[in-house]
Structures are given as C-alpha cells and as structure tokens.
C-alpha cells in the first residue's frame, strides 16, 4: 500500500514546514496588463470536458451569496454538488441581512463610472492592502452580476421609466449601487437560492441542511472530503469529493457582540487552517459606526442602521460633561441642549467630509468622545445621530414647493418628517421597535459595532487555498477588500466569486481529476478525521464543568473588544493574548454542556464554535501585534501622524508593511508561522487617505 500522510501533521512534518520560506506563497497572478489578466487567464487555463464533469463531485460549505451562487453555477456546468449549511434552509444564510446594495460599474447614470474607477475606489478604500489583480477582476465581472440577477427575477429598485435605479455610497464619487429597498442582500440571496433550488430539483445538487462541517479530509495532500455532523440526529457523516469549497462567511462573532447572525462562526475556515490553509490578515475587521447601542449585559447581538443615514443625520455629543451627566440621570432631554452646547465632532474634526467620512474614521472618532466620558446613554456607550436639521431643511424645501408663505415651525416639521420617512422609514421603524423611542422627535443613539471581517483564508488568484483542491470564497477569504471594505462591496464580491470566478478557475485544478473516479469514504484518512471529530465532541461533553459556552464566548468578546477593538497598542495586544489563553484553559476545564452528541444539541454546537473562536482570537491578536502600522480598520496607537494637518490620524507604513500576513498553523496559534505576500501596485499610486 502506498504511504499516506495523516493529519494533523506529525512533529517531523511540522519542522519541515517551518523551514519553508515565504516563496511558498504563489499568488498565480497572470502576467500582462491589468485589464487583460482575467481574460488571458480564462483563455489559457485548463477546462474539464462536459462529459467528465458528470464524474466529478464538489462540496460547498455555506450557502450564502458566495456558496449558493457557486453551487448553482457548478451544478449547471455539470458537476455533482453537495451543499452544507447549519441553518434549516440555504435561504437563511446571513447574506440575507445585508441592507444597502451592491456595486457594479454599469455607468447607467452616465456619471463617468467605469471598471477602472470601481477598481481604483476599491483599492484606495481598502487602504492599499488588497491584491490589485483580484480587485480588477472583481470590478470587471461586477456588471455581469447585475445582468445575471435581473435575469433570475431579482426585483431591484427601478425608476419611472422602468430602468434600474442607483444610490450613492460612502467613499466614492459616482452612483453605482443597485438596491432592493433596504433588503438587497435578501433579494440577491433568494435569487441565488432559487438557482440552487432549480438544480436540487434536477438532482444536481444534494442539500445537507442542519449540517455542520467539523473537519476537512485530506488524501495524499489534497482536499478530498469533509466530516460533518447532522445537527438534528447528531450522526457524524463522511462526505467525499474531488474539491471542497469553503464559503462559510466571516468571523466577526469572535467579539461576541456583532451584527453577525448568532450562528455565524469560524469553524469551517479554522478547520481548513489547521489542515494547512494559511489564514491571512485576521486583524482586519470592519467596525461599523452606526449600530444600535447595547441596552444591557444580556444583549445577544447588535443591529445595524444603514450607512445611508449619515447622508442626512448629524452626529454629536454634548460639549459639557454636566449635560452628559444630566442626560444619563434622565434630568435632561437631548432636544433641550442648545445648538452652541453641542459638539458635532465629525464636522469639527473633518470639515471636508463631515458626517460622511469612511466607516473606520467615523468609528474611531466616536470612540474618542466615549473614552473622554461623553457617552450619552446608561451604558455610557452612545452618541447621537440627529435628523432635526434634515427635517427642518426638507420641511422648508417642501413648504416652498407647496407655495406656503411664512410656514410655521410645526408645519415645517410635519413636511420634513414626511420626506425623511420616505427615505428611511423602515430603518426608523426598526429603531423604534428596539429602543422604544421615536427617532423623528428625539435623536437616535448609535454606537460602533463589529460588522465584517476583511481578513480570512489566504487564496491565490484561482481562489484556491494553500491546501490543493480546497477553495475559499466570499467573506471567508481575504482577497479583495484590503484593510477596509467599502459599502455595497461585500455582496458584489460574494457573487463575483460564486457566479463568475470560481466556476472557471476550479476547472484548472479538476482537469487533472478526470481519471480519478469516485473518492472512497472508507479510507484511513476518513477513519482518522472522523475519530478526531468524535474525540473532540466526547471530550467537550466529558468536561462537565460549571459554566455555559456563552459565558466563555462573552468573556472572549470582552477581551477582544477592549484590547483588539477599534484601537490597539502593543501592551494591550500582549495582555489580550495572555488573557485569551487563560480563557481557553478555563474553557477546557470548566465548560458545561448538557445533553449528548447523538441528538439535536445547540449547546454542543456552540461549544465547538467557541473553542475555534478562542483559537482564532489569539491569532487575531498576534496578527494585530505584528502589524505595527495603522491601515484601514486596523488602528495602532503607536502609528499616528505626529504633526501637521493630519496630526493624530492613522499612519500607514508602506515601507515595512505593504504585505499580506498569511499565517501557517503550527501546533498553537501563538506559534503560527508568518508568510508574507508582498503587494505590488503597478496601476495605482499609493497615497495617504485624507478627509480633513
């Protein structure tokens, strides 16, 4: 029998790997001018003959925009696809919650948009930390996405001429965002879900819902299947395939409180990381400035208020600390504070962009005021987002249109509120349901919250990880957003990867597999992987400690938010690493999971996810410690501009940090090995971002 390597890697193999230098990271970016790289690449990669596709199986883990669009497209091409999701239906993946819209360089508004402009905005918005060639490809296929979704019957917003309407989003100078009210993610996901359903009906996709991937199986170094747990029956299942695609989303839940769904987790991505896939830039996290603040300690998740609100809302806190105290004590209403006693801090600090600075800048500015003691709610973690000026402005405008002479204040407010309602009605209603305050009459309270993770599994130009045959798409990979993502770009990337990139690039790899035949699940490798999974589950259940998985998750979240949140420094990051290790130790000694593993057991599911988040959290802090520069969502207090107009603002260091940090797993997160992919910018000039 042929000698096979078993996972996890043995001691000796680990030593060998640590010697391999960064040239192991081959991005496979095609040569040639940037605008023709993708076309040339498509023309030169290997294809799989349609008859042979019928003999090839592909596993897709995760059914959000990336996973569903990939699964449907691959099945249409003829591959046999299995999809996996932990929810009860593919339609529930968290892409469904995206509000604002999806970008595409259609230039329907004739405002000078182009593929190059979308490419440029995305690279700049990412603070020059993304791979140029991938971003250009994303911009190129963006237009196909809109065509595809319209053909599927996605009901985008339209104008009275029946043509597609567009919105503007932060950080750009054109209108290129397509939308379906405040539910764009829902409509796009239901479109992809319908394409998946069509293939399920034809038998080309077999859906495994309420299933969770718990390990990757490698055979002779290649990804050949997964071990999954049927969450309803608890049965541990083996599934083999010629390639495995991970589309499991981001890891924002490492902070416990985030805008992610309760079940969003890093498990699938982390399992492939432990089997050899490098994890890139884990510290790049987007903290969204406008979320509804925490109401108390028992809160389980945070709700986003769309970025579009900053078009008309003004952000402020009181100038005087006495006023803040009176508000907290309930003795003073925000509406009673005079104009001159309000600090519109974004307008004060960034006169050029005002309330519309990018997300990372707005979040840090809010934190600065909160840290100075100006938080306006009981938890002391809120600032105001005030629509009264907008209501007055719109009211006057409407009065003029209606030819009302000398309108009274009351009349103006009624007219103005109508306009604000037509623009943001559903968001205002959502706010009122949660907070029980009327945002038309009193300013909204908002606070930044973890929203999206730009970091993720490292992939090459073909979206393949460092494990041959294992791919990673959507938010789960690292490739397109650099250190900060622009609004309405997440949906674009998920669908670009799933509809238009992966289905082509995967053929290059699978063309070598046409003679392989079905992959057996009765091999040593599957035995070994399955045993690992059941051992871990039994281990968790056998601890019989005193505290729930949530207890540890919340504790981890607090450390992450305090030391690895909006602002980071060396001392704090070292503390975080130490504390996370302690929480991890405590977890493995004291977690209490009731019930067994042979039936539906949500606590066991949570415990497994928390155990992976604990490991990721440590790597996250280690990555943040390594990157001693401020870029995009990653702000190091040591790296700020010391003087001049930009004093106190984030300072990027292109000399030393113009690279992707790709971490190789090595026994423990603390011993992960750093590989660097140096970023080259041939088509864009590197500049300092300024919003003053």
């Amino acid at each position: 029998m042929k000698k096979k390597t078993l996972d996890p890697l043995s001691e000796k193999e680990n030593q060998n790997l640590s010697k391999i230098s960064s040239d192991k990271l081959i991005s496979k970016t095609p040569s040639g001018p940037i605008s023709s790289k993708w076309t040339n690449h498509k023309n030169s990669i290997n294809l799989v003959n349609p008859a042979n596709k019928r003999n090839i199986d592909i596993i897709v883990v995760g059914t959000g925009l990336a996973g569903s669009s990939a699964a449907a497209s691959l099945a249409e091409m003829g591959y046999n696809v299995k999809t996996f999701c932990y929810q009860d239906s593919p339609r529930r993946a968290h892409s469904i919650a995206a509000q604002g819209g999806i970008n595409a360089a259609k230039n329907y508004q004739n405002d000078g948009d182009s593929v190059h402009r979308l490419f440029y905005d995305t690279v700049k918005g990412g603070d020059y930390r993304s791979r140029e060639s991938n971003v250009h490809r994303l911009a190129e296929v963006s237009t196909n996405i809109i065509d595809q979704c319209v053909a599927q019957g996605v009901p985008f917003g339209r104008d009275y001429g029946g043509l597609l309407d567009n919105r503007s989003f932060g950080g750009v100078l054109v209108s290129r965002t397509f939308y379906a009210k405040g539910q764009t993610g829902q409509q796009l996901l239901l479109g992809a879900y319908s394409a998946v359903n069509r293939q399920i009906g034809k038998g080309k996709i077999i859906p495994y819902n309420r299933h969770e991937m718990l390990d990757l199986v490698k055979v002779e170094g290649k990804a050949r299947g997964i071990i999954a747990r049927n969450l309803e029956t608890g049965k541990i299942e083996r599934h083999s395939a010629h390639a495995v695609v991970i589309a499991s989303g981001g890891y924002g839940n490492v902070f416990f409180l985030s805008t992610n769904a309760m079940g969003s987790n890093v498990t699938a991505a982390w399992k492939i990381h432990k089997k050899g896939a490098f994890f890139a830039n884990p510290c790049y996290t987007q903290i969204h400035p406008t979320c509804i603040p925490r109401s108390g300690d028992n809160q389980a998740k945070l709700t986003l208020m769309s970025e579009s609100l900053r078009n008309d809302g003004r952000i402020w806190v009181p100038k005087n600390i006495e006023d803040v105290k009176s508000i907290r004590a309930g003795k003073l209403m925000p509406t009673e504070i005079l104009e001159e006693n309000r600090d519109y801090y974004l307008e004060r600090r960034y006169p050029a962009f005002g309330n519309l600075v990018p997300r990372d800048v707005a979040s840090r500015a809010a934190k600065e005021r909160i840290d100075a003691g100006f938080g306006v709610n009981k938890t002391e973690e809120a600032v105001y987002l005030d629509f009264s000026s907008a209501i007055e402005r719109y009211g006057k405008q409407e009065a003029a249109i209606a030819r009302i002479k000398n309108p009274t204040n009351a009349e103006i407010i009624i007219l103005g509120e109508k306009i604000v309602e037509s623009k943001y009605g559903n968001l205002f209603q959502m706010y009122e349901k949660i907070v029980a305050e009327n945002p038309y009459k009193t300013p909204m309270m908002i606070y930044p919250a973890v929203h999206y993770t730009m970091g993720g599994v490292w992939v090459d130009y073909n979206l393949m990880t460092t494990v041959p045959g294992c791919y990673c798409i959507g938010e789960a990979n690292f490739s397109d957003h650099g250190a900060n993502r622009l609004g309405a770009s997440a949906l674009m990337q998920g669908l670009a990867d799933g509809y238009f990139v992966l289905p082509y690039t995967i053929g290059d790899y699978l063309s070598e597999d046409i003679r392989t035949g079905p992959i057996s699940i009765n091999s040593e490798e599957f035995d070994f992987a399955e045993k690992n999974v059941t051992d871990k589950l039994d281990n968790l259940l056998s601890i019989k400690g005193k505290k729930s998985p949530d207890y540890f998750h919340k504790k981890l979240g607090k450390v992450m938010w305090e030391y690895v949140g909006m602002s980071r420094n060396e001392k704090g990051l070292k503390t975080a690493i130490k504390e996370i290790k302690l929480i991890k130790e405590e977890f493995w000694k004291d977690v209490r999971i009731l019930g067994d593993r042979k039936s539906l057991n949500p606590e066991l599911e949570k415990a497994g996810r928390v155990s992976d988040l604990l490991e990721l959290g440590e790597l996250f802090a280690k990555d943040a410690l390594n990157r001693n520069e401020s870029c995009g969502g990653h702000f190091r207090e040591e790296s700020v501009e010391l003087d001049g107009l930009q004093k106190g603002e984030a300072k990027r260091d292109d000399q030393d940090y113009s690279y992707v940090s790709a971490w190789e797993f090595n026994k423990e997160p603390s011993e992960a090995i750093l590989h660097k992919e140096h970023l080259e910018f041939n088509d864009i000039e590197l500049k300092q971002r300024s919003y003053k």
């Binding site: 669009s69 497209s73 249409e76 929810q87 009860d88 239906s89 593919p90 529930r92 993946a93 968290h94 469904i96 919650a97 259609k106 196909n144 065509d147 595809q148 319209v150 053909a151 599927q152 019957g153 009901p155 985008f156 917003g157 339209r158 104008d159 001429g161 029946g162 043509l163 597609l164 009210k181 539910q183 829902q186 239901l190 319908s194 359903n197 069509r198 399920i200 009906g201 819902n209 309803e232 769904a261 309760m262 109401s295 108390g296 028992n298 809160q299 389980a300 998740k301 709700t303 986003l304 959502m430 349901k433 029980a436 238009f500 729930s548 949530d550 209490r592 009731l594 039936s599 539906l600």
Partner: protein, 250 residues
C-alpha cells in the same frame, strides 16, 4: 419583570411533548423575547437542566429562522415583527406566557420549539425559479424595462422570509400565502413569463403533496405575516392557477 413561562418541551420527533413551567425574574423590558429565553437557558444550565432548544439566527427579523407561537399568536402579540424583534415591553410584570412551536402536520416538531420546515424548500424546488443558467453574456440588465409598479409589487411579495407564521396561524395549516408570494413575484416580472403556467401548477401540486391545507379566506396569515404580505396575492395565485389549468396543454 418577573414572568411565569409555560414552555413546550419535546425530546424528539417521536416524543409526545408537554408544557413545562419555569419562572424567570428580573427581565429588562428592553430585552428582546429571545434574550429572555437566553436568560432562561443560562438559568437552566446552572440548574443542570437541559436548556430549551429554539430556532434563531440573524436576530434582526430577516432570516426567517425564529418561529415561536406565543400566547396563541405566531411571533407573539406585536405586529409586523418576527419573534426576535419582539420586545419584553409588550408584556406585563407577573404575566404568564405560553411558548409553543408552530403546529402543523406538514411542519413536524423536531425538538422543543424547533420544527421541520423543509416542506417549504421542496415547494420552492418544484418551480420557484427562472430557468436561467449563470452566464457572462446574459442580456444587459436594462435591455428590458419593467414598469415601476410591477417591480415594486414583485418586491413586496419577494420580501417573504419563509418563516412559516402563515401556516402556523392558519386553522387549515394552509401555505397558500407563502406559495402565492413566489408565484406572484415571477408573474409580475417579464423574466417569469416563460414558465408562468408550469410554475403555478407545479408549486401548487407540491404544496398539496406536502399536506398543507386549503385557504378559506380567514385572513389570519396576512395579520401575522411579519412582512405584511397581503392575502390578495392568494387571490392572484388562484387566478394564475385557474388560467394555467384551463389553457395548459398537458
């Protein structure tokens, strides 16, 4: 707030199930209903009692995963919300709250408050799509203008989150609002025309096969629907079905 809870506990599909009494104390009226259940579960874990299983995920009213029948109402006493958007301020201190799963033979209970909604997926698989393959050369998105009114109506029905409240609240366990939403969405759009007749026939056939009941126009589904999808779309589906049955060549 202090509350008395009567919660449906059922070990698995075969178990008969029963209501069990629990008390929770000191609940903030700003907590959401599911956060109150989180607190109950934390309390049960501390008492070494297996926590209550319930479905939930996005907790912002869009994924459609949460599904509780609270005091005899799908998604509880508030309107236009899912259970995760329901807040404790809708209840009174000292109140007794009954918490049950969706009840429908087409959506059997899996455990405690979790039900099996896979019938909804199978209905969608029978025709809830436009047969178009992924292709980089589909016609331009603006090649086919769609009247704004039709696009808006298609959106209104496409907003369905597939939670199943319509079925749970209907005395006939009818899924017609759910099916009508998808049938109507495509009927309003030019892209849906080619398969219009076959779609409604297939989806209704699958709906019947799954064991859902018929509509008797009580209108309960429209009231409980968190996305306020109107019952008039059921009438539209009936018209679609009728015309497809009469003129279909099969």
């Amino acid at each position: 707030m202090d509350l008395k809870l009567k919660v449906w506990r059922q070990k698995n599909r075969e178990d008969r199930g029963r209501l069990v009494d629990y008390n929770v104390a000191g609940i903030s009226e700003n907590s959401s209903f599911l956060e109150m259940l989180d607190i109950l579960n934390e309390q049960l874990i501390n008492q070494n009692i297996e926590p209550v299983s319930f479905d939930h995920d996005c907790r912002e009213g869009i994924c459609g995963m949460c599904s509780l029948y609270i005091n005899g109402e799908a998604h509880g006493p508030d309107r236009k919300v899912t259970t995760c958007q329901l807040h404790m301020r809708m209840f009174n201190d000292g109140e007794t709250i009954y918490i049950e799963p969706w009840r429908s033979s087409a959506m059997p209970v899996i455990k405690d408050l979790i039900v099996d909604r896979s019938a909804f997926d199978r209905i969608q698989q029978s025709g809830g799509f436009v047969s178009v393959n992924t292709s980089g050369s589909t016609q331009d998105a603006n090649a086919l203008p769609i009247p704004k009114m039709n696009a808006d109506k298609a959106f209104d029905v496409a907003a369905c989150i597939g939670c199943g409240a319509c079925v749970a609240t209907c005395k006939n366990s009818s899924a017609m609002l759910f099916v009508a939403a998808k049938v109507s969405q495509y009927a309003y759009l030019p892209q849906g025309q080619v398969e219009r007749k076959q779609r409604v026939l297939n989806m209704v056939e699958q709906m019947d096969k799954e064991g859902f009941g018929n509509c008797t126009n009580t209108g309960a589904c429209e009231i409980e629907c968190p996305k306020s999808i109107s019952i008039e779309y059921i009438a539209k589906m009936n018209r679609e079905y009728l015309s497809a049955s009469i003129s279909s060549e099969e």
